[in-house]
């Protein structure tokens, strides 16, 4: 039994502190840049409150450049994305801000600051809410899907999987009847959690979501300027990538459509169209 306990501890240790993978940028260097950028952001915030807008804007730009350096170097962190989004928002780049807030939300799904800022920034969109909303009942039933990020969901899956293995081994060796329902329960938990993990991996890695970062973006019938524009969407609008072709994404866009002949009614539906890659960002 003690061997299993040791194995479990070892496994958890490995998950929490994975070994053998080096970062593209040293941790100490990243912390230094991050701290400097944060200080500059705080200074710019003070300047803004003193109505020195030009200096404040410079400060925000400097901070966003430093955060951007870390992002370009392959550093992935929820705080970094959130701070970068704040700095971009201060510079009036709403589309880019939404892009990085969404990235931050993937890593920090329970963080109320991220949610609040997304909600606030969305009020400044030119278009009506374009993303399809998940119904509240689905959110309540699959709460863990929305509560945990991909890494946390992976850890939970592994922990439950190891617990199931330990319970099965205990049952094999000591044959206690009460272990049967425990194994059954853990088995169901592992199936549910691993399915959630699979769904999360699919949604976050196989299904690409994007945000319009240009002030205005033409949605065209085909991948090229020679194709007519179907309609226009604006900075901050979200979409799901279906396909890509050179400089173009084929995307599903959930839009609030108002037919030209019908000035009263509007309808929400998915529309497919081609967007220029330079005008959008992928979350």
């Amino acid at each position: 039994m003690k061997y299993f306990a040791l194995l479990l501890i070892f496994a958890v240790q490995l998950v929490i502190n994975p070994i053998g993978f080096s970062d593209d940028i040293p941790q100490s260097e990243a912390i230094k840049i991050f701290t400097l950028a944060n200080q500059e952001y705080a200074n710019a915030q003070k300047l803004m409150s003193q109505k020195k807008m030009e200096d404040a804007l410079k400060g925000f730009k400097w901070a966003s450049d430093r955060y951007g350096e870390l992002v370009t170097a392959g550093f992935v962190n929820g705080q970094l994305y959130y701070n970068l989004a704040n700095a971009l928002y201060r510079q009036g780049k709403i589309g880019n801000a939404v892009l990085y807030y969404n990235k931050a939300q993937r890593l920090l799904p329970r963080n109320s600051d991220v949610m609040e800022n997304i909600r606030l920034v969305k009020t400044e969109f030119a278009d009506k809410e374009l993303t399809s909303k998940v119904p509240g009942i689905i959110k309540a039933i699959l709460f863990w899907y929305f509560l945990f990020n991909l890494g946390e969901a992976t850890v939970f899956t592994i922990i439950f999987y190891i617990l199931l293995a330990v319970a099965v081994m205990c049952y094999i060796y000591i044959r206690m009847q009460w272990l049967k329902p425990v194994c059954f329960g853990l088995g169901i938990a592992v199936v549910v959690i691993s399915s959630t993990l699979g769904l999360k991996i699919y949604n976050e890695e196989c299904k690409q979501r994007g945000v319009v970062i240009a002030q205005e973006c033409n949605v065209r019938y085909g991948p090229g300027k020679e194709y007519e524009a179907k309609f226009k969407i604006h900075e901050g609008a979200e979409f799901i990538v279906k396909d890509e072709n050179d400089e173009w994404y084929k995307a599903y866009i959930f839009i609030d459509i108002r037919q030209p002949e019908d000035k009263e009614d509007s309808s929400n539906e998915f529309r497919v169209g081609w967007l220029r890659k330079s005008e959008v960002g992928i979350i």
Binding site: T154, I158, V168, M169
Partner: protein, 611 residues
């Protein structure tokens, strides 16, 4: 018990007498009425003079009846009624009179002298029709003009009004006294473009018109126009049934004689539906004038007064003072806004939005009520000596002008805040009123700076090899556990498996023991032991008894026969050597025993692979 009841009765009688005496002391009134004021020369009418307020007066003096003959009378009746504790008494003198000829006549007023005062009744005009005219009416209206006996009136108290002005809408349903009206159903008019406030339930009373007594059911409501223009109030409607008892034997009667009313007594009951609908009322509504509109005017129309109180009047800086502003008067009290608080210096007070509570205390002639606004103000420095000035502006529709009520500041004492708050043993009721927090500005939340959580998550956990190792290891452990447990179980239950598994190790162990000290082992004993080791090994491997091998030739065992010939030859040779060595003297040199051991070892290794 009986004594007690008697005393209660006496008390009630005393009360009654006192009340009646009180009513006797009131002014009396003479009312003359007839049961119909249009009739033919063949009809008779009942003329009643009612003395209201007394039953002890003399009989009123009958005037000279020009154009009528007195048939009989008077028959005297008296009535006492108690409504809401108020006693009213009346005494009636009824005469039956008959017209002498057709024409228009007037019954002059009755007179009465009582307690030295002279009272005069009303006069009554009566139309007497000749026979041809009465036949025409009979043919055109079925002999009974119900419109004169049941009718409605619908009116407003104002011919024109201002926006938000109070207009009293009155609906009156008249039916001649004595008519058995039932199943009354009232449909309200459509008053869109108006705010409406009910004025209590229905009111019922009697009126005399042209000498005929009518019962009136009155419904009143206050309406407040919300837009300017010619606003329409749609007709009000009332439905009811008139109950008539028809006689079995029809009699020829005068067509204008009330066949309906004469039929009330005897015969079967019938219900005649009656529907009365009013006309549409068009009310011109004027907009509120722009001239002279005060800056603090918030739409109040009516006539109001304002009272303001502050509590407490002695506070520390930052402590709340509740200002109670009571606006009272005539108008749409529900919709009025709070008085304006005029801050001379905005830094002196923090003012919170008020909470209000409206009460209507009169719905009789007008809608009157009060609205109490409670607002909290907090003095911000110790230099403040009085509350802010407050004003309330309204438009007075009767005067046609705006009025502003100014309320002087209320003196207060503000002390500098103490470092330590005193212990509060209770909470004032006014302090429990909570205010909604309003958002001053909207901005994004600040950046995050938690360096403890600042690490690179570039490679997701599920993409790391360790993730797959962590999945494989428990899986492998479970599979291994299954096999291990099966193996352990077989060891416990399968003898042949255990013998076969142990055969090799036991044989090797025994041989190595002999090999360790070959010179100490007597030759005969050495060969015996090697022969035993070999037979035990083969017996274990084949799961048979060692004794059975002793009695048959090794080469005859079926499993041995399947072995390569070289192995069989070697085995037979070794077994023969051991047999020879065991029984032949001087053949047990240590070297020879060692050769036999080596041969046995080779054979065991070979058999282990081949068996």
């Amino acid at each position: 018990m009986r004594k007690r009841l008697t005393s209660i009765y006496l008390f009630i009688i005393c009360l009654f007498v006192v009340n009646v005496s009180t009513s006797f002391a009131e002014e009396i009134k003479l009312v003359a009425s007839v049961d119909k004021n249009v009739l033919t020369t063949k009809d008779s009418i009942n003329l009643t003079i009612m003395v209201i307020g007394s039953t002890t007066t003399a009989q009123p003096q009958l005037p000279e009846l020009e154009g009528f003959n007195l048939i009989f009378g008077p028959s005297v009746s008296s009535r006492t009624s108690i409504v809401n504790g108020e006693v009213s008494v009346r005494k009636g003198f009824t005469y039956m009179i008959k017209p002498k000829s057709a024409g228009k006549f007037t019954i002059s007023p009755f007179t009465l002298e009582h307690n030295g005062k002279k009272y005069v009744s009303n006069k009554i005009n009566i139309d007497i029709l000749d026979k041809s005219e009465s036949e025409r009416i009979k043919n055109s209206e079925g002999g009974f003009n119900i419109d004169e006996k049941v009718f409605v009136e619908f009116e407003t108290d104002k011919k024109e009004a201002y926006v938000y002005d109070q207009v009293i809408l009155t609906f009156k349903f008249y039916y001649q006294s004595g008519l058995p009206i039932t199943d009354l159903e009232y449909s309200e008019p459509d008053t869109r473009n108006f705010l409406k406030e009910s004025m209590g339930g229905q009111e019922q009373y009697e009126v005399i018109r042209d000498g005929v007594i009518y019962n009136v059911i009155q419904l009143k409501s206050a309406i407040f126009p919300v837009v300017a223009g010619d606003l329409k109030i749609s007709p009000a409607k009332v439905q009811c049934n008139l109950i008539v008892k028809s006689k079995r034997r029809r009699q020829r009667r005068n067509p204008l004689a009330d066949s309906f009313f004469d039929d009330f007594f005897g015969g079967t009951q019938k219900r005649y539906p009656i529907v009365r609908e009013t006309d549409t009322i068009v009310l011109p509504v004027k907009p509120l004038p722009e001239n002279g509109k005060p800056a603090d005017f918030k739409g109040a129309v009516g006539v109001y007064t304002v009272e303001i109180e502050a509590d407490p009047k002695e506070v520390n800086v930052g402590d709340p003072i509740t200002l109670t502003m009571t606006v009272q008067g005539k108008g749409n009290i529900q919709t009025i806004s709070e008085p304006e608080i005029e801050l001379l210096n905005e830094d002196d007070f923090r003012v919170y939005p008020p909470e209000s509570d409206a009460t209507i205390f009169s719905r009789n002639r007008d809608i009157k009520g009060k609205k109490v606004f409670r607002t909290v103000i907090e003095p911000q420095n110790a230099n403040v000596t009085e509350t802010p000035m407050m004003s309330f502006s309204f438009f007075d529709p009767e005067a046609g002008e705006y009025k502003t009520l100014m309320h002087d500041p209320i003196p207060i004492k503000v002390k500098a805040g103490e470092v330590e708050s005193p212990i509060r043993l209770y909470v004032r009721e006014s302090e429990t009123d909570k205010n909604h927090v309003s958002i001053i500005s909207r901005d994004i939340l600040p950046i995050m700076e938690n360096l403890a959580l600042f690490s690179n998550k570039s490679l997701p956990l599920h993409k790391k090899p360790m993730f797959y190792i962590l999945f494989l290891v428990p899986f492998a452990a479970v599979i291994a556990s299954i096999f291990l447990q099966r193996f352990r179980k077989r060891l416990k239950t399968d003898v042949s498996f255990v013998r076969k598994r142990r055969a090799y190790s036991d044989a090797r162990k025994s041989l190595s023991e002999i090999k360790k000290n070959p010179e100490n082992i007597a030759a005969n004993d050495g060969y015996t032991r090697i022969a035993h080791i070999m037979t035990d090994y083969i017996a274990d491997k084949l799961n048979i008894t060692s004794a059975s091998i002793m009695h048959i030739k090794v080469s005859n065992i079926p499993e041995i026969k399947k072995l390569p010939q070289e192995t069989i030859d070697k085995l037979v040779e070794l077994m023969d050597t051991c047999d020879y060595g065991r029984f032949a003297k001087g053949s047990g040199a240590a070297e020879m025993v060692l050769d036999a051991i080596n041969s046995a070892e080779w054979l065991i290794n070979t058999l282990e692979k081949q068996l």
